[in-house]
């Protein structure tokens, strides 16, 4: 078991290194160099050369990469090319919105979707199950901004509650005030992950439900409710945790679209600005943060999948 987890962690570490290589050298093929961009067109060649030396740009690529990686791990993300401000300062102003929306979505969206999915598995083929399956099949293939537009149509245009933009500061707001503040972004992301979670948790429970020991329990005359909660659910926990982690990893992507749609400042809008202004120091730093979060969640999904399965934990 520990050996397996250590091996997964090792694979995770290698993945992170590979990711950092892709991000670093992916942004290195960009034309122009950081020193020239920061000093502007009028800078004398001597000044540019001096700054190049200070930033370490005169060193070979692999040395630059190692320095960048070391700086990243010590929390030094470099200085933005577009605004001449340390990246860490830019992030400090914005990370809260992104983190709050992702966490609240996880807190609200995940339990509700799991409940709906498990209920659908309790009554397979019922009207409730079929309607839910149809809705989730439809939503799973729709883009985030379609879901967001439907929500705006319903709440802002039809019911006249709230705004299609998230405005104002989150300072000093309590838990419920924060939910109200980010109601539409949270609802949008919840719908997006719900469509996956409902389908997959339903499939996970139904999968267990078709195994022989459940058939045995049914033949013994155990009540349906008890079969689901005492027999099936415990064995479905592994796949369900796996699915939850995968969908939280997906939030990394979803949150970018939602922040732009509802026009509030966050890390995702920051990286989009970075791409538009070709600020590759910013892209490297933020790209690493997003990818790291993603890789860590995938790793959790992976470990959860076999940690909950005794047969994988104790290989013969």
């Amino acid at each position: 078991m520990t050996g397996l987890i250590l091996r997964r962690l090792g694979i995770g570490l290698v993945t992170v290194l590979a990711v950092s290589l892709i991000i670093f050298f992916g942004t290195k093929i960009l034309p122009g160099d950081a020193a020239q961009i920061r000093l502007g067109q009028e800078a004398t060649p001597e000044n540019v050369a001096a700054l190049r030396e200070k930033l370490g740009l005169d060193k070979p690529y692999w040395a630059q990469y190692l320095i960048w990686l070391k700086n990243f791990m010590t929390g030094n993300l470099g200085i933005s090319l577009a605004s001449d401000v340390p990246i860490t300062n830019l992030i400090a102003d914005r990370y809260k919105n992104t983190v709050i929306v992702s966490c609240l979505t996880a807190l609200i969206g995940v339990p509700i979707s799991l409940m709906l999915g498990i209920m659908a598995a309790m009554f397979p083929g019922s009207l409730y199950d079929r309607v839910l399956t149809f809705v989730s099949v439809s939503l799973v293939a729709a883009p985030e901004f379609f879901t967001a537009t439907l929500l705006v149509l319903l709440f802002v245009f039809a019911l006249d509650i709230g705004n299609a933009v998230v405005v104002g500061s989150t300072d000093g707001k309590g838990f419920f005030e924060l939910i109200a503040h980010f109601a539409l972004p949270i609802a949008t992301l919840s719908f997006v992950i719900a469509s996956q979670l409902i389908r997959m948790s339903r499939a996970a429970v139904l999968n267990v439900m078709s195994s022989p020991y459940i058939e045995m329990a049914i033949l013994k005359g155990v009540p349906r409710r008890r079969i689901i909660f005492r027999h099936a659910l415990l064995n479905a926990i592994g796949p369900i945790v796996n699915v939850v982690a995968l969908n939280l990893a997906y939030l990394v992507t979803g949150v970018i679209v939602v922040e732009v749609y509802f026009a509030y400042p966050g890390l995702a809008t920051l990286i989009v600005q970075g791409v538009q202004s070709r600020d590759f120091v910013l892209i490297q730093g933020l790209g690493m943060i997003f990818c790291l979060t993603y890789v860590v969640l995938m790793l959790i999904a992976d470990i959860a999948a076999f940690a909950s399965n005794p047969r994988l934990r104790h290989p013969k």
């Binding site: 293939a141 883009p143 901004f145 705006v152 139904l206 992507t253 970075g274 892209i283 990818c291």
Partner: protein, 327 residues
């Protein structure tokens, strides 16, 4: 595995129960057609003909997909205005409501929304289709190549592929667009390369599964060349799941391209594309003026992707639903 990498599980039945033996398959002996004039299909224990029937939802999906394909191909002939024409050149108010002459109203720059959606159809569908095709050519060639190569080549290719797979697709897209800017060929190549990683994994898994089957062993023992084995033994068996997966991949590519365009990093103005139309007209929502300029293009994407999904669901359910088990 991100949302992009999942394979749809046809729900409603346990995968094991789908794709089970049908009545005709149950005989374990084969009666050769000794008499002339009787074909294999007419024998009492012949396997049932592979006849394909859409369910109701499959039909609805197929009709919507056909509708959008028609618009994509013949759009420039039916659009009431050009992509960047102004239906009411003298009227300067933004986001006019639907009226005669502009059935869906006009957008932030007074252009006809209906015409832009019709022009956008060709661009959105064309780019996505080209990208998916590229992903398939690369993914299938490399994936099946890895499956038939030795373990070392296979290992190296798979590890590199895994590194790319473990990145969120949109991040890869952002890095590429930041590095070389955005144009339609760049979009097609980027999406094609990103989704080739997923196809690679599927094609390799399928190839490996088929490689160890008896008929491949037999072909090897006969001394057939590698190319012969790929085209005659592996490909016919891998084709069906790959074609079903093509539909799914197309959905994710459409969503990917639309999201990039929505972020302002995909198709560039003034060219119409559904994703960028949503972004251009977001102001209509934010000032509470009208929802149609945003709803219409978002709806166009959603109807197309949901319709493809309905067709794919139907096809994979009829193909035995074994697709999900192969991953």
């Amino acid at each position: 595995m991100s949302r992009d990498n999942t394979i749809d599980v046809p729900l409603g039945a346990h995968p094991d129960r789908l794709g089970g033996l049908s009545e005709g398959d149950k005989t374990d002996h084969f009666v050769a057609p000794f008499e002339h004039g009787i074909s294999f299909d007419e024998l009492p224990d012949a396997p049932p003909k592979a006849r394909f029937r859409f369910s109701l939802t499959g039909w609805i999906g197929a009709i919507i997909v056909a509708f959008w394909l028609f618009i994509a191909v013949f759009g420039s002939f039916i659009a009431p205005y050009g992509e960047n024409d102004l239906p009411f050149p003298d009227d300067y108010s933004e986001f006019q409501t639907p009226r005669a002459g502009a059935l869906l109203g006009t957008d932030v720059e007074d252009r006809d929304i209906l015409s832009r959606i019709i022009y956008g159809a060709g661009r959105t569908i064309g780019i996505s289709f080209a990208a998916t095709l590229l992903a398939y050519v690369l993914g299938v060639v490399l994936g099946i190549g890895a499956a038939v190569s030795g373990p070392k080549v296979d290992m190296a290719m798979s590890r590199i592929n895994d590194a790319f797979l473990s990145l969120p697709t949109i991040m890869l897209g952002l890095v590429v667009v930041a590095a070389i800017g955005s144009s339609i060929p760049v979009l097609i190549c980027t999406a094609g390369l990103i989704y080739a990683t997923v196809v690679f994994r599927l094609a390799r898994a399928l190839g490996q599964e088929i490689m160890v089957m008896d008929f491949v062993e037999a072909a090897k023992a006969r001394g057939e060349g590698r190319w012969w084995i790929i085209t005659r033994e592996i490909w016919p068996n891998a084709a069906m799941p790959l074609i079903t997966d093509f539909g799914l991949r197309l959905i994710y590519v459409i969503l990917f391209i639309s999201s990039l365009s929505f972020l302002g990093l995909g198709v560039q103005p003034p060219q119409a594309d559904w994703g960028s139309m949503v972004r251009e007209n977001l102001g209509a929502l934010q000032y509470g003026e009208s929802i149609i300029p945003v709803l219409a293009p978002a709806m166009a994407i959603a109807t197309l992707t949901v319709a493809i999904n309905l067709v794919v669901d139907d096809v994979s359910a009829q193909a035995g639903g074994r697709l999900s088990k192969r991953l």
